[in-house]
Amino acid sequence: MSAAAQARFAAAALDPGAAVPADLAQAGGRAPERRFAVYRNNVAVGLAGPLAARFPAVRGIVGADFFAELARAFVRAHPPRSPLMMLYGDDFPAFVDTAPGLEELPYLGDVARLEAARTRAYHAADVAPLGAAAFAAIGPEALAEATIRLHPSLGLVRSRHPVASIWAMNAGEAELGPIDGLPPEDAIVGRPALDVHVRRLPPGGAAFLAALHGGRPLGRACALARRVAPDFDVALNLSGLIASGLAAAIAPSPCKDPKP
């Protein structure tokens, strides 16, 4: 098949309004339109279906019909560039942020971010969580200078909306209830073993984890967290990190060249 013929076939398969490729045969005297439509349908379902599977809470919030339109528009703008469909849609949250018709759901993009982080966590590398003993072994005086490698499944979703609560309500993990008046939430997503967990972070927690992720020593990460949350509680956040199983390694000295 020439590259040009394949290009015509691909374009026609992606666009329901296009004419069918001219190089198709009329098998048994039958025009190929109805038969070509099978490919169009397969391609449409094959590209939108994985988005519905990856973003069930977003789909639940907007309804199946609106989601189908949203997915079709996303597929047109961002067709997959890889056959790994389980991770298709990393750009979907940003697309949702600016998609028309969603002005009354300003939190929807962040719900999509949380769902995208869940899939990444599901497929991330397996690493045994670091226990409290490893932290104790560092010694309290050296702890401030220690660096912590976070678990490869860890994802942060920082939001101006109560994203974790909204997600939990729409994922069947919390009772449905009013969201007006709930404070903004930062969420941490991770998979220390086989199950993916979503947790709300305490004040300053996201800044703390982001700093650790950037290679900052523990003491510096605490200082950065206090800047955004003066009541940042280091003991609470550190024990939360250890309990969540999302610390992967600890090293007593800072890395040579932490990110600025």
């Binding site: 076939f9 045969a25 098998a27 048994g28 039958r30 038969r35 067709p79 560039r81 056959p83 397996d126």
Partner: protein, 290 residues
Amino acid sequence: MILTTLPATAGVGFKPEHFGDVLADGGFGGFFEVHAENYMGAGGPPHAQLTRLRQDHALSIHGVGLSIGGAGPLDCAHLARLRSLCDRYAPESFSEHLAWSTHDGVFLNDLLPLPYTAETLAQVIAHVDETQSALGRRMLLENPATYVLFAESDIPETEFLAEVARRTGCGLLLDVNNVLVSATNHGTSPERYLDAFPLAQVGEIHLAGHDLAEGDGGAPLLIDAHGAPVADPVWALYARTLDRTGPLPTLIERDNDVPAWPELRAEAGVAQRLIDGAAAGASVSKRVAA
């Protein structure tokens, strides 16, 4: 070059929702087949489950994203991922499709058809050669379910597949449901297709269900939907094939409206009894009414 083959048993396409039931079952002796692309994440439950299944079962890794029938070059990164997956699980078989799915870097997530000409034959041979070299193993190439034909095609599909197998040394995966779907859609005879198929090269058979849709002018249009039990005419074509080949590894494929494990296992049991009959030298086509 790794030349392993699946055992001549009935296998089932593995679905994660069946994992617990499969472990509790314990008595299923067939092989499992998985889609390669679903196991290309770094870790997590997919690998944990496959590692566990691999302890007790023969494994077929079935790719759906390599675009072997495409005009462009194969995706080297994807070949490397397939190599790494095959090295990790050492499957008895790796297979892919006579179809394309990627154009100009865009993945269409469907198995799209190609014309059969000297030009496409050379492309497919080069791609199968490249795949077998990259994986260090012999692969099987599957006949497609098609809905359209190309005016420029001048090589019958069976001859095309036979020539690819002859030139590359690859084996073939005979999907009997695809044979019926394509033949019905193009108004040709599935028996004649099977009579022309290079059966000596077949390393695995696929069986699946199809949907019946209304074609134009009232002509039947079959869709390879993998959402129903294997249809009676497919069982009949399968038994007719076993009469000629003897026992062959046979997969029950189900990707949509997936039933509970016992139902799929029972369907594999039907195939297993026909395989056993063929192994005993019986003519199994008499046991299946079309």
